[in-house]
Subunit: 277 residues, 2 copies
């Protein structure tokens, strides 16, 4: 396994980890100052200063963009609204490509509004992904399907296992890969097998931790080492599968980390990445 | 499919659905009065009046016991404490057999205290189940493995998919079956396949609904029809697999149903079972 204890070379921070709605002009220099070489910005942060502005800012500080969050959500407006959602996803591809991101992160979207048909939501996601793919290929921007935890199946993400994401990759071919996020997948009895199956398709690796107790379904993720996920074990599976990319820390934590000073959060990420991952 | 709209013949109520800690001497007559033929008591309710007392009370009212909740939890005291936990499970078998239950419901238990090794927790569950099985076979009392939602993997249940439960049944043979609970399994892309695979091993079917939003990981289950689960679809899979047993309503609802009068809750269960399932 790679030795993480002596440098931060593989570390990236998803900007949602910091107190919400910090502008990129603050976040990017702060990460640079903390010695963190990777960044995972949200679309809204790119949009706030424009693609060129974001590319310049990130480039000036020499950061790697481990991925852009989040696109996909092809179920949001039902089948009749798919074209609009795909159009918006094309803009997301342009934003991600425009700042040199390694991938664009796609989540499923929940059930189609007004429907209880989960299989149909999954079908619609596949249709949207398929419709988006030519544009992403033309932009040379890999699409990274991120399965989210089953507790989000209803309202956020109908793609809930790495097996589903791998099946979609099998069906669609080049230009599509997967994100492995420990928070969403750690419970999965097939995780080791599906990481091995994903192999070179793995485009990103997201880190946080599962707290016991977890007090909120969305906004109570833990800092690495504060929870129960065996992070080194999952990382060993990732490396066995050939993954050598960044480790992107993504923590939504209303009751703890979002209340703290961003510099403290970044320093903690650096320390925990060295000792707990 | 069976027609549920005209009678309550298949309906059972897990007593946890009613306001907490109602004594059996109140719950059993209330269910009988509401015309509900099945009951799923907790162990503590049997213990409160003794096995013979519970058997008499339930028998006097002519109720069917769809299952006894909950046993298993073989991980609770680690490997060194397994024997004690298995002993307690043997008492649970005796309680369930003593009141003529159709099955004893087993859940996984979470991670072993102090450990992050989920695979080891799963292994310990299998060891406990295997140790318990001879006693259950001798008592002619089927053990029903209930996979719980992946959001409980850390602290309640390391058995999280029906596939895992089916694998355990394959390994252990006669005397072990599964519970299908819509709340825990509705998101699973393999659910239809695994229900078909379970077939005659299905010992119980639990009903509630997934609310959007869900405000608490444990105590915010919905009444059938109030959430997003396609209950008739899952029931059609159950019947296609040959299941003809009771439908046990199990709703933990701190903010809503537990605050209401038990008679109102029972009447709502009856109505929703007829119209939403």
């Amino acid at each position: 396994m790679r030795d993480l204890s002596r440098h931060n070379r593989f570390l990236s921070i998803n900007t949602a980890t910091l107190r919400r709605e910090r502008p990129p002009a603050e976040v990017v220099p702060a990460q640079d100052a903390a010695g963190i070489p990777g960044i995972g910005p949200g679309r809204e942060q790119i949009q706030a200063i424009g693609i060129k502005g974001a590319a310049r800012l990130i480039g000036d500080h020499g950061l790697t963009v481990s991925g852009v969050s989040r696109a996909g959500v092809f179920t949001a407006q039902g089948r009749s609204g798919l074209r609009q959602v795909v159009d918006d996803n094309r803009r997301a591809v342009d934003e991600a490509a425009g700042i040199g991101a390694r991938c664009l992160v796609l989540i499923g979207g929940g059930l189609i509004p007004g429907s209880r048909d989960l299989a149909d939501a999954r079908k619609l996601f596949a249709e949207g992904l398929s419709a988006l793919l030519p544009h992403a290929r033309a932009a040379n921007l890999p699409l990274a399907i991120e399965p989210l935890h089953p507790m989000y199946a209803a309202d956020r993400a109908c793609i809930n296992t790495l097996a589903q994401a791998n099946d979609l990759c099998d069906a669609l071919g080049a230009g599509v890969g997967v994100v492995v996020d420990v928070y969403h997948t750690w419970w999965d009895p097939n995780l080791e097998r599906e990481i091995a199956r994903a192999g070179k398709r793995i485009l990103a690796f997201h880190l946080s931790d599962w707290l016991v107790p977890t007090t909120d379904l969305l906004l109570d993720r833990g800092m690495m080492g504060d929870g129960v996920i065996d992070l080194p074990l999952i990382r060993s599976w990732m490396e066995a599968a050939g993954y050598r990319g960044p480790h992107e820390v993504e923590i939504f934590s209303e009751r703890n980390w979002w209340k703290r000073d961003p510099d403290e959060v970044l320093a903690t990420c650096v320390a925990r990445h060295q000792t707990a991952c």
